[in-house]
């Protein structure tokens, strides 16, 4: 395996470079997935049947917490990749650990939100609106949940093997995934919550 030392470790071999390219193609497919979920939500948002409307169940408080928590975690994983490039394993793992901690906080707030919705009579089967809403939010939340396990596995591997072309590549690809989830959240924050509360 030829290692090119003139570029960051995550790009150092051809395989690494192609894995990053491949992950961008995966992100393209994810854009289509979330595109269909947003299209469904925006089509059905007015179909509330006998259930509540968005403005009746959305609360700005938890949503703002989720947004700031996720934006900060996206910043922290950026710093983690930066520390990785400096070869600072301790700082890299600290930033990555904090990223996951904020991810866990996000998930906790989202679970609290979901239980509140269900208590207020907005379950998955209440109306076309609640079904589309909870599917969109739930798909994003499931991605965050997967990300928590993925990130944890990376922390374990980097602390065992150190920063190698292989672990750096995995960490970098995970950071792309995490930033992408943040981008999706921005759209949920804007076109689900703020649009609903407007």
């Amino acid at each position: 395996m030829k290692i090119d030392h003139s570029v960051p470790k995550e790009y150092a071999t051809e395989e690494n470079r192609l894995k990053i390219f491949g992950f961008w193609i995966f992100i393209g497919a994810e854009v289509a997935l979330f595109g269909t979920l947003f299209a469904t939500y925006l089509t059905l948002v007015g179909h509330t049947a006998t259930g509540p409307t968005g403005s009746e169940i959305f609360e700005i408080g938890p949503v703002l917490i989720e947004t700031f928590v996720l934006l900060t975690s996206s910043f922290l994983i950026g710093l983690s990749v930066h520390a990785m490039r400096l070869g600072n394993k301790k700082a890299m793992l600290t930033f990555l650990g904090l990223t996951l901690l904020l991810g866990l906080t996000f998930l906790g707030v989202e679970i609290y939100e979901f239980t509140t919705y269900v208590h207020e009579g907005a379950g998955l089967q209440t109306s076309a609106f609640t079904a589309a809403l909870l599917t969109l939010l739930g798909t994003h939340g499931a991605h965050v949940t997967l990300g928590l396990f993925w990130g944890l596995a990376i922390i374990i591997q980097v602390s065992k093997r150190g920063i190698t072309p292989e672990t750096a590549n995995k960490s970098f690809i995970f950071s792309l995934y995490w930033h992408f989830l943040d981008v999706i959240w921005i759209f949920i924050f804007s076109f689900v919550y703020l649009k609903g509360l407007m």
Binding site: G28, T36, L42, F75, I77, G78, F187, F189, F191
Partner: protein
Amino acid sequence: MSLKELFPAKYVTGFIFSLVLTVAALSVWYFDLSYQVGLSILIVTAFIQAGVQLIMFMHVGESEDKISIYTHTYYAVAMGLIIVIGTLFTMIWGYQ
């Protein structure tokens, strides 16, 4: 290793910018704006915010494959927009 090395200006700027954009988007909730004005603000802030993530944090331009990555990502975003706008066009706007 100094703090300045661990917190590069580019990242800190990107983070602050993303917070500012969030506050700007919040104006649609805080002020009593018309639907059109509010939605226009949200479209602008959301897409700039996505761009900030892509350019500041996702290192999109530094790989040898950057032309392919850019092409594919633009294509994916275009497809996403066609899915959303096309669905609204056929399912909602056509009936008004």
